[in-house]
């Protein structure tokens, strides 16, 4: 059996998940073993920490910083992974021109498209194949009310479609109530009760014909981005949080009207504008299709159809991919970010370990006499070592828990980024930061690891003291 990139990525994620859970279980077990195994009263250990509360507090705060940063950074990457994993249907096959590394660079011509969508294996609805013909473009938009000192333009992702309702069905996306899919014409008369204030207030000279408004369906994320322009312009708190049905915006040389907003949160479609392909193709100079998305009965059928197009279909040179594989391949940036986060966290953790070592060495040197007394009372070397290690772990546990709690505050925040694969292309996305149980567990494990590394050497130095020398 040949494993796809998506399978390998899933396997890697599964392995890392298992590793995190094993490490988490090991941390809890270590803590429990220490709590149960230490004969020296826990109250004595806690009191030692509270007596030197300033040092303890500073060490805890260092832990809080490291762990909360880890949580925030992981939440960002989780958000990116969720986007690439949630976008795409396992039963869909995406067809690009052969050699195209991304849909931005793909060119498919209409006769090929017509032939491809009539191949066997594609689901049909009322006799029509369940296919979405798409032209994907990245366009620049001059920002209506740019913030001072910020760029005057932005990139927007535009998807030209022949039948937006069909595209919605193929991609499994719905509209918010009160919205509608793009009409066959793809345009709507300006000033015809569409809520376009610009066209009503400033209709232009009487002899100049008013251009119809281009109908657009917006992803939820981009609807928020475009609404922000109006907010900056009006400087009013009453400005909408996101564009909604009837609102207008400028793109290219035309005014556009929102006819629907997609329930697209958590997918890359969240950052897209959909419009009639017949309008956007000529407007932005991309006449051909970039991709064709075909719906099959399920994941197995999708793989069979993909293989058919890649090895047996000869009428046109195409590259077929299961849609989920295509989006999984866009996680190249995620992996790079994950590596960067791992690196930063490890280096910061080293800094934190140095801090806790200082604290624990000071604890040992301040309690030399205590150690001597404890030894004379019959506590073994290992008991004393475990006691110091437990102190260090208690600091780590409190710092780790507070760090996780602080970092969790970003859960649900939105951020902009780009997801892209190794071979170029990519998508501008609005992602939602996500703090999941695994992230919290990772924070806890890291904190415990810092506690163990930071506490071990000082604890070891404590047991090397001889009782009588210690009391001198």
């Amino acid at each position: 059996m040949i494993m796809t990139t998506a399978d390998l990525a899933l396997l890697a994620v599964t392995r890392s998940t298992i590793a995190i859970w094993i490490a988490g279980a090991a941390s809890v077990a270590l803590l429990a073993a220490l709590l149960l195994g230490v004969k020296i009263p826990l109250r004595y250990l806690v009191r030692n920490l509270t007596v030197r509360w300033r040092t303890t507090l500073m060490t805890v705060l260092a832990f809080v910083m490291v762990i909360s940063l880890l949580t925030v950074m992981m939440a960002f990457v989780n958000g990116m992974y969720r986007l690439t994993q949630a976008s795409g249907q396992p039963g869909n096959v995406m067809v690009l021109a052969d050699g195209a590394t991304d849909e931005s660079f793909s060119n498919l011509i209409a006769p090929d498209i017509a032939d491809i969508e009539n191949q066997p294996g594609i689901l049909r609805e009322n006799g029509k194949p369940l296919c979405s013909r798409e032209t994907y473009l990245v366009v620049t938009q001059p920002i209506e009310n740019p913030v001072r000192g910020r760029p005057q333009r932005r990139f927007l992702q535009l998807r030209g479609l022949d039948d937006s309702a069909m595209t919605g069905r193929v991609h499994g996306l719905e509209l918010y109530p009160s919205g509608s899919w793009i009409s066959d014409a793809g345009v709507r008369e300006a000033g015809s009760g569409n809520g376009d204030p610009a066209s009503k207030k400033n209709p232009g000279p009487p002899e100049a014909p008013i251009q119809p408004l281009v109908e657009a369906v917006l992803g939820e994320g981009v609807a928020h981005v475009l609404a922000a322009d109006k907010k900056h312009g009006s400087n009013s708190a009453s400005a909408p949080e996101r564009l909604d049905v009837g609102d207008t915006f400028s793109l290219g040389d035309r005014r556009w009207i929102v006819v629907g907003v997609l329930k697209s949160a958590g997918s890359t479609f969240d950052s897209e504008i959909w419009a009639k392909r017949g309008m956007v193709g000529p407007m932005f100079g991309k006449e051909n299709y970039s991709s064709l998305v075909l719906r099959t009965a399920g994941p197995t059928e999708a793989r069979t159809l993909k293989d058919y197009f890649n090895s047996q279909y000869k009428k046109a040179a195409v590259l077929a991919q299961v849609e989920t594989d295509y989006f999984e391949n866009l996680s190249g940036t995620n992996r790079q970010f994950l590596f960067a986060i791992g690196f930063v966290t490890v280096v910061m953790a080293v800094g934190g370990v140095m801090g806790v070592m200082n604290t624990m060495f000071a604890a040992v040197s301040n309690r030399v006499k205590d150690i001597g007394v404890l030894r004379l009372m019959g506590y073994s070397r290992s008991q004393i070592m475990l006691a110091f290690l437990l102190e260090s772990l208690l600091i780590a546990m409190v710092g780790g828990a507070l760090g996780c709690a602080l970092g969790s505050l970003v859960d649900g925040w939105t951020a902009t980024s780009i997801v892209s694969g190794a071979a170029g292309g990519g998508k501008f996305v609005v992602l939602r930061l996500s703090v999941d149980l695994q992230t919290l567990l990772l924070g806890f494990v890291l904190a415990q690891a810092m506690g163990v590394f930071g506490g071990f050497i000082p604890a070891f130095s404590a047991v090397r003291l001889k009782p009588l020398e210690a009391l001198r």
Partner: protein, 417 residues
Amino acid sequence: MKFFLLILKNVRRNAVRSTLTAVGTMVLVFVVTLVWSILDFLDKVTAEKTDNLKAIVTERWQMPSQMPFPYADTLSDGAARHSNDLHPIDSMTWQFYGGTIDPAKKTIENIVFAFAMEPEKIGTMLDEIELNSLPAAKAADLRQSIARLKEKRNGIIVGREKLTQIHRGLGDRFTVTGLNYKDIDLEFEVVGIFPDGRYDKSAVMNRDYLNAALDSYQRTHAGQKHPLADKTLNLVWLRVPDMQAFNTIQQQITDSPLYASPAVKCETASSGIATFLEAYRDLIWGMRWLLAPAILMTLSLVIANAISISVRERRLEFAVLRVLGYRPRQILTLVVGEAVMLGAGSGLVSTVATYMLINHLMGGINFPIAFFGAFFIPLQAIWWGLAIGVATALAGSVVPALTASSIRVTEAFSKVA
């Protein structure tokens, strides 16, 4: 001087604590230096220049920009049509050619991406390797490479890291199977290597070679043009003396009837890059206002922790110093001085080591922001380490130092008694 030696002795007195604090400082300064180096570079490339600035001409609406090649000549001249129109100081055209050396295995290591351009513009228009700004030996090497690229139409100048990735060296030949230009497969000969730095992963080919291959496609395909034949010009760079000249040339280009389909736009390079970086706005914000401050705060805490432990252990010593006639201000200076010496010393060592490690051993930081290949540590970063060390040490030691300076002699001695 005696006071300085006393501070130095105090730092050396508890070697373990000083070492731990120094190592903690060094690793944290290391991360801050990396983060600030990336931000510093991004700030520089997006800062608007007022003179000797570069402009980019691209397709007005679409990205990636794909203009017809016949636009190249007139755009390179700033669309000057009349005798009194302004001409740019210099210009360069970019066409992108990307492909793989192993069509069966399209990994990032096997992909070669080249800017197809006029060879002579390499030494005048490519940032950071302008011939007049390079050291003499490097400039001579690059001049030779450019001459060879002019001579050999199938030549290619490649960055050292890319050459290592594709296991090739100077003089080697390899064939690239076109990815963005399907069926345009080209054989190259490595005629030069870029000076180390920004172009380590880049490649430049002679634009005539790509254009000739596109022409020959038509001949070998029954007169049918390559599907992208009319979309081969991606960017035109113009160098203009100042902002006023830029505005004039921008107007010339915008007003020209030559660029109707597709329409074009002209913007300063910094403005174009800033637009692209807008997608990373939140990430950059997080690095600037979350990551770096949090590391600095952690660093302050590590130093503060060490100093406050030290102060607590030396209460009696400070009381003795007071009895010997030391004033509170001197004790405060003593404690702060210890922290600053430790912080500044380890901060400086850290940034020097970071500079050497990243720039000379690792060939830059690979961080996936925009189209920048690798980020390097600027020379001035060496002073950042010193500044970070001093600032965080001051922040971390002020409270413990005040505690030390306000120590009550009777109280300290009564505890001993």
